[in-house]
Chain length 291, copies 2
């Protein structure tokens, strides 16, 4: 998520029969030159532009729709160079190389002949049966029903209202940063709101739903935004079908905050304890040192 100053946006909840907001927001039109045209969505608006996750989801959609795409998603790296402006945007995927087992893509998002607002690379691959092993374990969360939903409807950013967050540890968010840092680590339940069958488009968006850790440790909003995010997809189509629209278990943490940037690593786990996504981002922030 990204922030400079709040400019609240109203969100019309979808009526029955209306496509899920994520499907509406990631709708793309293929163009004769091999690019895809999309349009920003008020439903996923953040403070100065679209929620970074919906931008990642649009890139994933373009690749999944691409006639030359082979295999399933292995990784997606998105670099947020500048906010996408409200309106139409162009996604230009370029197939860099296909080898025996993986396919490499480079992508850009452009608008009105401006330099790219977004650059990205992606890897797709075959997922054959192999030796499998999971040293990592899913977060041990309290039952989801026992946790209070995050009051997304009170938040300034529209995109939050498309997710149901249930934090095991909900940190206070004040008007001024704390003197003592709060814990960076959080565990939570996350689900699309309204519920939606999980796919790689949704996973790409979900990977960026973790609040910037600078907000969490400072207990306040400061100017911050994702600069670069890498998503590793461990889930296969079969995993997603099994998951359906069940809520995901998730965790996020950071290693270091220093000189305007902090790292952030997060995980999204399926209901059956399968790791679907591990994701890592470097976040820009501005927060003057204590005098």
């Amino acid at each position: 998520m990204s922030l400079t100053e709040p400019t609240p946006v109203d969100l019309d909840r979808p009526a029955a029969g209306v496509p899920h907001p994520l499907d509406a927001a990631t709708q793309l039109t293929a163009r004769p030159d091999g690019s895809y045209e999309g349009h920003t969505s008020t439903a996923y608006w953040n403070f100065t532009g679209p929620f970074g996750g919906v931008t990642a989801a649009c890139l994933m959609r373009a690749l999944l729709d691409h006639p030359r795409r082979q295999g399933s998603p292995v990784s997606l790296t998105v670099n947020y160079c500048a906010p996408v402006a409200e309106g139409a945007f162009r996604i230009t995927p370029r197939l860099a190389r296909t080898n025996r087992s993986t396919q490499h893509w480079s992508l850009e998002i452009t608008q009105d002949g401006e330099p790219p607002s977004t650059t990205a690379t992606a890897v797709f691959g075959a997922r054959p049966e192999t030796f499998a092993h999971a040293p990592a374990t899913p977060p041990a969360l309290p039952p989801r029903e026992s946790l209070v939903p995050f009051p997304s409807h009170l938040a300034g950013s529209a995109w939050l209202r498309n997710y149901d967050f249930r934090f095991a540890q909900l940190q206070p968010l004040g008007r001024v940063p704390r003197v003592e840092p709060l814990p960076a680590a959080q565990e939570l339940w996350i689900a699309d709101a309204p519920p939606r069958p999980l796919d790689f488009v949704a996973l790409a968006a979900l990977a960026d739903t973790f609040f910037a850790r600078i907000f969490v440790v400072r207990g306040a909003l400061v100017p911050a935004g994702t600069v670069s995010m890498s998503i590793f997809f461990h889930a296969t189509e079969a995993d997603l079908t099994r998951q359906g629209s069940e809520p995901l278990r998730a965790r996020a943490d950071s290693r270091v905050f220093d000189r305007g940037f902090h790292d952030q690593s997060a995980e999204l786990w399926g209901a059956d304890g399968t790791l679907f996504v591990s994701t890592h981002q470097i976040v820009y922030y501005r927060d003057p040192p204590a005098a």
Copy 2:
């Protein structure tokens, strides 16, 4: 690191006055068209091509040398599409966008008009004084002198001989994979061999020196190779100057191995307990399931 089948390469150790092997291997010639020409190095040869870390180091060198580069390294993502062939290669950096606080680059490595062997994106930025906080702690390693150096001179891959590895937990490496997985996590001391003052070029290479976790958990070499690696640079010039050529503390671990790919996260720490680099990669492997 990447592997298919061993083809040992001889390495001439540098004599006094000769440039450090890393400086020789990352030497680039600027071309009038804005690209850089380099040449693969036998000293950093791996099994089927150059060690991925030296490729990352060459990309970093090209950006650091670039007249339009602003700020210091924040992130570098390298996608290994195919092995770089022995001989000359071309690095083409393209400045995607410069904004107030960050600069975004896209790069490719090509040879003889072939599709790119490597694609990459990088972010540079200003590193002003801000609120700083380090939730992560460096590995508590035994004194380096008390640990046996990894016998790089016995290994098939030349690049290993340019590093001094001292593992706190050195896993056995046999001819056939273990039935029971060994721990994926390792902590170690790493230093350039011969010693070399630390810079961002060396850090980019060091980020890929962690053995593929599939070798570690299986206790054997299987076909494997890094597909995509993201490096987050937390160190500033001042940190590197303070570090000089001191050994680094390091750790690596994985979350999941499944259907031909596993993740891998690692950290490089300075002598004074500052996190210099966090890095994450997705690794391709082939390892048939137990019958």
